[in-house]
């Protein structure tokens, strides 16, 4: 399986990173990517993607939202959980 293409490697990339591929397939990907600057660049940006989006969407709860929720919960918890 040394003739693995970039396209096939991309198809298998998540399974590769999750460790669910057979050893033979994994090794064929390692061989291809090791000698392919395009795949090396692609894999780096693919791996970077979740982190960039995670950091960019790490919203903090606004103070007024927090206050309103806690007031709501204080009222709620005066009642019994079973309606």
């Amino acid at each position: 399986m040394s003739d693995l293409t970039c396209a096939r490697g991309v198809d298998l990339l998540m399974d590769y990173l999750e460790g669910v591929l057979s050893v033979a397939v994994k090794e064929s990907i390692d061989r291809h990517v090791g000698g392919c600057p395009r795949c090396l660049a692609f894999v780096a940006s693919y791996r970077e993607t979740p982190r960039v989006l995670r950091d960019a969407t790490a919203e903090e709860i606004p103070a007024d939202t927090k206050r309103r929720l806690e007031k709501f919960v204080r009222e709620l918890s005066k009642r019994s959980p079973e309606r």
């Binding site: 096939r8 991309v10 669910v20 709860i61 919960v73 918890s77 959980p81």
Partner: protein, 201 residues
């Protein structure tokens, strides 16, 4: 009866809350409100997040008696919050979003990447080159443009960092289907971020 305090486990507090201890429930809310808010922003929007938050804790409170400690309290609560988000999105008449398909990787007839290594990795250190507000705004817009089923899987797996098996259970899918959806989402988002980086001065 034990008195709730901040050192007790979620599961102990949940049991106290289920037996009518309001203070125990308030402690749990304090532990999770930030995380549930962030999840709600990622799965719905900043506009919807406050309502999602209230609804999640209301549902959790009502169903405390059904929490048996078979899973962790956090897992149970995440599942409620996810369902509240999904119901909300499915109930809203959503305009078809402009697809991210055009950002999928391109290959030539031999299956080789059509782009050069330089153009494939333009996005490295993107978050150091783009100001925070603008990147946050573009990230939200990109999530909105994902097909709904990809977004759910991607947010839970990659942004909330839940294990694939847990995402599968939450969404009622096989793990292989979760991997497939997360993968497609990553491909589209990678292309989107790379393109964004390429259009920066």
């Amino acid at each position: 009866m034990p008195v709730p305090d901040a050192d007790q486990s979620d599961e102990t507090l949940a049991a106290l809350a289920a037996s009518g201890d309001g203070r125990a429930f308030e402690l749990l809310v304090g532990r999770y409100e930030g995380r549930i808010y962030r999840l709600a922003c990622r799965l719905t929007s900043e506009t919807d997040a406050p309502d999602v938050l209230q609804d999640t804790f209301l549902q959790a409170y009502r169903h405390l008696g059904e929490f048996r400690g078979a899973s962790r309290f956090g897992t149970w609560l995440y599942r409620i919050a996810t369902n509240v988000c999904l119901m909300r999105r499915r109930a809203a008449s959503r305009r078809p979003s402009e697809s991210l398909e055009s950002f999928l990787p391109r290959f030539d007839e031999n299956g080789t990447h059509a782009d050069t290594p330089e153009t494939l990795s333009r996005m490295s250190h993107l978050d150091e080159r783009l100001d925070r507000e603008r990147l946050a705004e573009r990230a939200r817009a990109a999530l909105d443009r994902l097909p709904e089923t990809y977004r759910e899987a991607f947010v839970l797996r990659d942004l909330e960092e839940l294990p694939t098996a847990e995402v599968a259970e939450t969404l009622g899918l096989e793990p292989a289907a979760v991997r497939q959806r997360v993968h497609r989402a990553r491909l589209m988002l990678r292309g989107f971020l790379n393109d964004l980086a390429g259009r920066m001065p």
